[in-house]
Symmetry: C2
Subunit: 403 residues, 2 copies
């Protein structure tokens, strides 16, 4: 089984024997620190999942979604906006849970994605949060995003960039909410490959990096004239590193946070991905192996199907070819960096975070590297089981920069 | 094993095979919705507890306490009050976890209790919360409490009353924090038998009910001139019911919340407590049975030792004799009541909540009974796995009363 997880992300055991489901369980529990589904609601679902299969998981969280939707409607009818918002936000998390294990090419997946978007937008509406949905024109389509309504008067924009597993609604929990509460303007975009963008034919690759530049330009056109802070999570750690490299010199970017910064994506795949993804250079062969691995474990198959969909026709196996120059020229990085890394992440992620930090610290002494120990609870990939600690670390550092 | 739990409190399984430890695990996880230890920190501890023994539990959470204390000091030295407060509040929860399984008569237990108090007071100090510790004179000793600093100008005082398992610091999570955030003044007292009061020779019984009256009079002497809202949890459901009966007519008490209201404590013990507590009227015999039951399960033994300490020389077995009149005269209750009950609680708790609600609803039509379903996550005893939902329900109801 050790080779059947996609990447070492955590050393914690929560509830399920299957590592993929267990990581998802811990992820959802982590969200409970910021609203979403409570531990009681989550374990009500977990307890119903006796057989660890994607089908049972999807069925269970679908019932939770319907329950939360009904409660939200009920409280809206009672003119109880805060109560309705709490249930809408729990509906977002239930929908998000479903999407962990539902083949995104099925029609049901689009229905769930739209339900998640509606629930999120209803929640922020009921709460009176100054955030609105925004379709940023890109290529022949658009980047689905949320953006602060009061961009024109904002001094600092906190841009949350997710990774291979995020929808724009996730970015609320990855700093969007915390930044708004602290008075920042916020941009939470889905870049190509993320969220629902593969439905538009947008996939991970060069377009992902380009799109970040397009989104920042669009923010300027929308009236924002302040400083930009980039905050990248998971794959977003690579996307932001690459973007900072390409943007140099980039006076408009005042600071950069990455959990974790990645300068050599190819090496991550070679060293940290399991054997069945890297033993043979032939994409065809790799895809066959993926298929076989999936047949052994339906949960892993569900997770891999989603990644395949996000990476486009060549799938995950073609990832390295998708980025014109997957390695980052460290010499071109020149923005103060806060690098966050969990001690329970893969050693290669920790190593690259150290390399990027050392490079930048010499040039930008305000740069900092924070390693989260197991006792901190923030030691997993993206600090997913103690996001408030990561967020406190981020905003304390920004405050130290006068941002 | 079914007879080895003290009372049916939950239908959820979280992590441990032992029901007492598992309920404690779910309790601690529930606190994570309001600060305290994160899911990551809690599961770091849970994962270390391979053998489900009180000793291992205590050792593990003692390490967590020391870790949080060290981090809090570190951040205080860095002039980071919000960061220090978060670690202090996690230290409170770690200490509270220890006290679930540490014999309170051991010297170590007093050290941990004092560490919990210091951490809580440091947290509210660092956060600038307008709450202060208060020793309310009572009998030959005092009731340890926290009270709002600005009582004189407050319109409504929200009084949080815990049960058989609470320390005054727990009351922060049981509505103290939520009430302060909504602009209420707050009183969070330990009544006789609760928290550290047995060290003063104070135990559950008549004194518990009397002390609530003493605390409310003391608040008046301290300058409070507004309306009082009582909110009782667990055993506090009984204490407040009894207090409301005795205070009638009680124009100073504007509203009463109980999760759950209990009018016949004796019947709860007869019907809902396990056989080994009720098969024989002889206290001596019952204590022998308790001793035997404890020998079968060291976790249960640790829990029962704590209860014995709280109930005084006659122990749990003498409980009924401890209250001069354990039954409440329903005819004397006449304050608007919000009764909260979880559908996964013991049937007798649900039944009594219904009886008290029906009685009051006829007299005080603003009264309401809210039953939380398993899907709500608030279906356990005290809504412990979704306290924010219970709190939202409480404050929406109070708002409806113009309070």
């Amino acid at each position: 089984m050790a080779t059947q997880k996609a990447l070492k992300r955590s050393q914690r055991h929560f509830y399920f024997a299957d590592e993929t489901l267990d990581f998802a369980a811990g992820w959802l529990l982590g969200y409970a620190q910021q609203g979403g589904m409570s531990p009681g609601e989550l374990f009500y679902c977990f307890n119903q999942i006796k057989r660890e299969s994607p089908l049972v998981w999807v069925k269970t969280f679908t019932e939770a979604l319907h329950y939360q939707q009904a409660k939200a409607s009920e409280l809206e009818a009672q003119a109880d906006p805060a109560g309705a918002a709490a249930h809408h936000m729990a509906a977002v998390v239930a929908a998000r849970a479903i999407l962990h294990m539902l083949n995104p090419t099925l029609p049901e997946a689009r229905v769930v994605t739209e339900a998640m978007e509606r629930a999120f937008q209803a929640a922020i509406g009921q709460l009176g949060v100054r955030l609105e949905p925004w379709a940023i024109p890109f290529a022949n389509g658009y980047l689905p995003a949320y953006v602060s309504s009061d961009l024109g008067s904002a001094k600092t924009l906190f841009v949350v960039i997710g990774g291979g597993d995020t929808y724009r609604e996730d970015l609320w929990f990855f700093g969007g909410k915390a930044a708004l509460e602290r008075g920042y303007a916020v941009l939470m975009p889905d870049l190509p490959g993320q969220g629902s963008t593969p439905y538009q034919g947008l996939h991970f690759g060069e377009a992902t990096i380009e799109a970040l530049g397009v989104a920042l330009a669009a923010v300027r056109q929308r009236g924002f004239a302040g400083r930009v802070v980039l905050c990248g999570w998971s794959g977003g750690g690579y996307f932001t590193t690459k973007f900072v490299e390409r943007s140099a010199p980039a006076p408009e970017i005042a600071a950069w946070i990455a959990s974790t910064p990645i300068h050599d994506l190819q090496h991550v795949f070679e060293v940290a991905m399991p054997g069945f993804l890297r033993t043979n250079p032939s994409s065809w062969w790799k895809q066959q192996v993926l298929h076989l691995a999936g047949q052994m474990n339906p949960v892993l198959q569900a997770a891999l199907e989603k990644y395949q969909w996000q990476f486009g026709p060549e799938g995950i196996a073609g990832i390295i070819e998708k980025f014109a120059d997957a390695r980052v020229n460290l010499e071109r990085l020149n923005i103060p960096l806060l690098a966050l890394v969990g001690e329970s992440e893969d050693a290669e992620m920790i190593r690259q975070a150290e390399v990027v930090f050392q490079t930048l610290h010499a040039r930008q002494p305000a740069s900092s590297l924070v390693k989260f120990s197991p006792a901190s609870g923030a030691d997993a990939h993206c600090q997913i089981n103690n996001l408030p600690l990561a967020q406190h670390t981020i905003f304390a550092w920004l405050q130290g920069q006068g941002l």
